[in-house]
Every structure is written in structure tokens, then in C-alpha cells.
Amino acid sequence: MARHFGVGSRLARGDGHGGSAIAQTLRFASVALYAWSFLRFAAGAAVIAALLLIATRVSAAEPKAGGTVTAIIQPEPVVLTSALNSAAPTGTVSGNIFDGLVDYDFDLKPRPALATSWETSADGKAITFHLRPGVTWHDGTPFTSADVKWTLENVWKKIHPRNQLTFAKVTEVETPDDLTVVLKLSQPSVAILSSVNSNGAQVLPKHLYEGTDVLNNPYNNKPVGTGPFVFKEWKKGEYIALERNPNYWDKPKPYLDRLIFRVIPDAAARAAAFEKGEVQYGVLSPVPLKDAKRLAELPTLKVETKGYEWLSPFLFIDLNVDNPQLKDVRVRRAIAHAIDKAALARIVWFGFGEPASSPVPSTLKAFHDPAAPAYAFDTKQAEALLDEAGFPRGAGGVRFTLNHDYIPYGDDYKRSAEFIKQALKRVGVEVNVRTQDVPTYTKRVYGDRDSDVALTWFAAFSDPQVGVTRVYNSASIGKNIPWTNGSGYRNPEVDALISSVQGEADPEKRVADFRKLQQIVLTDLPTIPLVELKFFTVHAAGLKDAVTTGDQVYGSLKNAWFETAPAQN
């Protein structure tokens, strides 16, 4: 379910599927815009650069209050409440209006937010959150444990796609007083503490939601939170305006007066807007990858890959284990040997990624197993394995043909598919790349199981139980549940490990289980991890402390402040 993240933003960056084809024709016009904006930019660039040079010399350590940040939101969200919709743009806006019980630092350790402290009972069957006193909702009503209890029981357990599983073991929520919440669990649920930020478990104001039709509550689109910014206005198709919350509990934050999220559908126009200084902040790779390098070299802008640690996104291929050739593990290993992951990361992803060795990304340091079986780029080894498996090169040097479906989220994924096609061709495996829209893709891979090699990306999240186990869990095979087990891999031992980590309290035991899981799935190789993706944030160089948490992509700009006011605003 976590797959919803990033959907829109990839779409907007120039994908090739029919659904948004008309919107893409607009891109023709953007070429003219390019030229125009460049001229304008060139004229002012020298002056701005000179000013900034002076400004950076006298860097002030103390945050300064004031200023308006204009940010990119892409695509326009459908709703502004993350508790109901896990889509990326919703999370980016919503994280500024709501606080989480915690947020996560770059090492994914929870830091106090609405909860000042928390503890898990010795048997792991109770988690207690102590809430921050004196916090009020934007309408002045005090924030209490009743809000948490109500949201957990009525929203997280009933509506939120991932939380239905994460909080599944919660049997009862006790609120001994206004500032204490105790979750009673049927089994230990360690993963809960990895997903209680404003995106993973957003608390809604009970007094505005109780007794209403939650999904159609008008406050979903004019949210009332406790966060650093107050919702002001949403002009559809243009912008979402937030204003500073003067009563915010974490004084003197926030420093910014206003936060405007602008909707700019064209990727090239977004790059131009950054260059002109019209926007100062954008998450989830808001400009074309190649442009990022160019923008990073400008003194006015910074390109930052931190702030996505909580996501830990990774690119991989599912190999259909029911395919007559792919059912042989030697063929699957040959394919792994045939793909130069380092080149894929460097060439296709322009360095915005690292070669991946395991489905548990190395960013999850505790769980990642660096000793799991690895498959070095070695075409000779690949050919030897294919020969050994009984698929010699036939006419035209072709051993056999596979259909390859790639996730239609943008040109980066299409180029990845073309890269894989060429890589496999070198070892005699012909690849037929197929283009389709998202529903056709998910039905083909997760429903009809009619794909041989399927390329996609998942977010692993900070606990692999949330994002990784779904790749190998056999319960979801062929049921058309998108973003689950696409390879058709069934291994009772793996299924047992997956259910074991869900109810295991001992962190060391869980790590051991996850390492064992990695050993098995990297030996059997139903999926080949390819690249640990690095999304990036673009922000103005004068905007300081814009990226301060490991979940910044869906967090708030409460720490951000302007050292130098934006050149144009």
C-alpha cells in the first residue's frame, strides 16, 4: 500500500502512459518557456550571484524570523489529510499542518513531537505515549489523548491503507488521563514505533470528526491540525496557502510567515521557476534528473538527497517464477549477473541512486545484511549459468525471449527498462519491452501474472516489516493487490519468517529473522534488487534548515528560515 507514495510526482515528470498524454502535449509549449526564462535568468543571474556571494560570507547562525516560502507541490493533492490518503503530495502539505506523535531523525530514531516520551512494556504488549501538555488545535481546542484514541480506532484501523496492518494487533486503547495513551496489544508490534510520525499516524481532531462521515468531512480539505502552519486557502489548480501558527508549542518556531505550495505541472517549467527564484522548495525530485545536476551547480540553489531516509525507496525487478525459463534459479542468477547495477545507477539515474544488493536497503543499517549472497556484474558467469541451465544460444545468438513490463511512472523507469533490455541482450536473452498504463501494469503483474520481468520500486520504510515483507509474502500472489508479491515466489520458510517478525518483540531476534530472510530470498532470487533510489529536494541556498529530519519529505518546514530573502517573491 505504501506504493502510493511518489505516484503522482513520477507521473508528472514525463511518463509515457495514455492517461496523462493530453497533459503532456502541453510540454511542447514548455520549450518556448525554457528559452524565455533562460534569457530572463541570464540577465539577473550575475547580480543575484554577486549578492549571494556577499550574503553567504556574513552567515548568521541565529535563525531569523520572517519571509514566505513558495514551494512546489506536484501533482496537486486530492485531499490534504494524510490520515486518509497516503499519496505523496498530500503528505508533503499535510505534514506542515499536523504534527506526528514523533518525527524521525536521519538515523530514523524517533524524536519527541506531540508525544514527549513513550515506553513499551516488558512483555511488549503495551505501548504508552505521554503527550505534550499545552498543545492546542488550530481552532483553540486542547489536544488530548481522546484525539489519539478516536483517530486510532476510527481512522488508522479502518481507513488508512498501511496502518490497518501496522495497528492490527491493537486490541484496546486506554486513556487514563488527558495526556496518556496506552495501546494494548495482542502480540508485540515493534513496527508501530517506526510509523507514528505525522504521515504514518496522523492524529485528527476528534471534536471536528466524531459522528461525521470521516471520508467526506469538509475539514479533510481545510484541515485543522496542531502543526507549525495553519491552513489558509486552497485555490484549486493554483496554490495552497498556509500561514504561521502563532500559538505553536515549539516556540519560537516556525520562523517563516507563510508557506505557499504552487502547482506547476510541467517539469521543465518547475526547473525554470527554481532558477528564477520564484520557488524556494520542492520535494520528491521536482525537476528532471539531468537538470538537477545543472541546478546544483548554481549558487542560488541546493539539491539535497537527505530527508528521504524514512522512505528508503529501492528499484527492483520481479522475475516470474512460473515462467518456463525463469523457474530455473540459474537463469534468475544469470540475469542478476548480466545487469551492471552501478552503470544503471550512474547512467539512467544520473547518480541519484546506489547499486542495491538486498531488498532491505543499506539505509536500514540495522536490518540490512551486507553478507547476503551478491551477484557481481559478470557476463561470462551469466552466459555459463544460462548454458548450464540448458538454454544455449540459438539462431541469431538468442537463447529465449522474455517480456519486460516497467512501472509507467516516467522516463527514468522507461530508460531503466531499455537498459535491462540491452544488458540481457548481451548474454543472449531477447527482451520485449512493453509500455502500458498503471492499472494495466498492476493487473498484469499482480493479477493476471502475465509478466516475465517486471520493474518497479517500493518504499521499504524504516522497518522492513512495513515495506519489504510484502515483496515475498505468498498470501497476496495473483490476487491483484498492487505493490505486493509480483514474482509468484512461494516459500513456506519465508512466510513463517514474515509472520514471526510481525509478533516478535526482541529487536535482536527480529534483526536475525530479517537477515535470514535476506539470505533466503537472495539465494532463491525471485526478485533482483537494482538501485537504492535517492530522491532529492531542491531548495534555495538562502533557505536554511530546510531539511532537518529523516522524514522531511512528509515533515514540516518548522525549522526553516531565510538567511537571505528570496531574490524574487
Binding site: 514525463g14 498524454a21 502535449t25
Partner: protein, 295 residues
Amino acid sequence: MALLDFGAAVARRRPRAAADGLLVRLLARPSAVVGLALLAIVLVAAAGADRFFPEDPLAMVALPLLPPGEDPAFPLGTDMLGRDIAAGVFHGARVSLLIGVVATLVSLVIGVGIGALAGYYRGALDRALMRVTELFQTIPPFLFALAIVAVLQPSIPTIVGAIGVTSWPSLARLVRAEVLKLRTSEMVEASIALGAGDARIILRHILPNAAGPILVSASILVATAILTESSLAFLGLGDPNVVSWGGMVGAGREVLRTDWYVATLPGVAIVIAVLALNLLGDGLNDALDPRSGRR
């Protein structure tokens, strides 16, 4: 002038003689000569693609984003994946011409068929066929083709089919008008008097005499089909397993600011091919129109 009129009159009865005269008249027009010359370049590129670039044009052969002229082995540079742009342009000529010609043939079969039947039989059949034609005409052909390809998923046959199926209505109307005109001509009446069947009359007498306008239309249709395929590929609805000009432009769009040549060079190829066919079409139109000589 009288001679030309005479020639046109002869052309009606003697298609072969007309063809000789046509070429002569075509070569007398500068635009047609330029069109033919450009088309020849495209044809040579398509025919010689395998000879000049025997490697797979989709193979990653060099450093990515090598500018033109940097490495003599890759005179037009390389794209984001390190594929040879020159190889792509040459092999792309094949795909573009193949799609252009085959889609036009599909369009010709449908358009000429419907136009001839409607014009020859008139009456209820004419009305029915023309309503169908109008139905197709109300849908913008590019969006229609886009929808078909999106539903059927992009591959060379679906792209060819989609372009063919959406581009015939204007041809059908043109053929119908020509057939209506010729239907009442003396030679057709003479054929009927001699007892010739409908099929024979349509195929042997009417259509050869309507060949001129159809030929002009067809040359423009080929150009349009190439453009449509390029646009589809630009929008990501090209066949990802073959190299095509539109696909190259679409892929290069992302790096337009930093590496202009990736999108521009295949774009120039599209311009050349489409310009060639349009100039040729204009030239044919002039050459086939007996009155144009007086201008």
C-alpha cells in the same frame, strides 16, 4: 498550353504515357525536385542503415551524452544511455518510412474502398457510408489514434493500424467526389453499354482516372503518418523495442537544456522527411493539374 491540355486529355485514356509526362512535368518544378532529392536522402538512409550501422541502434556503445563531433566514431554524438544518435537517425528512417507507408496503405484501402462504393452506388449506401465517415471525422484523428494505441498498447502493428484507421475519412470524401464526377462520364457510360460489370468499371476505368488526386493525398498522408508516429512516440506511446525519431525526441526532451542535440538531431530528420513528402505532394498536385501550367 494546348499541348499540355492535349497531354492531360491523353492521360485520361493512356495512364502509362501519363506517367512519363508526369515525371517530366514534375522535374520541371523546383519544389518537387527538392522534395524528391530530400526523399532520396531519407530513402538512402533507410536502405543503408544496416550497411552504415550494422550494430543494434539501441545498443549502448559509448559514453552517455557525447556531443556531436567529440568522437569521430559517433559523429552525431550519443544520447543519455550512450546510444549512437547517428545510428538511431538512420535506423529510425526505416521505422518512420515503414509506418508512414504501411499506415497510408491501410488508409488507402479503407478510404478508396468506401469512397468508391459511396460514389459509384450513391443512394442509401452512399448516405450510410458518408454518415460513418462523418462520425470518424468528428473525432480529432490524433487523439483517436492516441486512444487506440493507449488501449491496445504500443507496438508497430497497433501504431500502424491506429494511424491507418484514423486517417482515411478525408481520402474517402475525395475519392467519392472523383467517382461521382467520373460516374457520369462518357467512357463509363460506354463501358456500361458494352456490358462491363461494376467491379470492372470501378477498378479498370474509374479509379485509374482518379489516381492523380489520390496520389497527391497519399504523399501527404505518408508525411502525416510519420508525424503522428513521432508525436505518439514523443508522448511515450512508441514501440520501445525499436528506435524511432519521435521516441528519440521524446527521450531527449528531458536533457534539452543541457544536451540540445539529443532531441534536436532526430527532430531535424523528421523535418526533412515530412518536408520532402509535402514538397513532393505539392509538385504532384501541380503536375497533375492541367490548369496549373497556365499560371
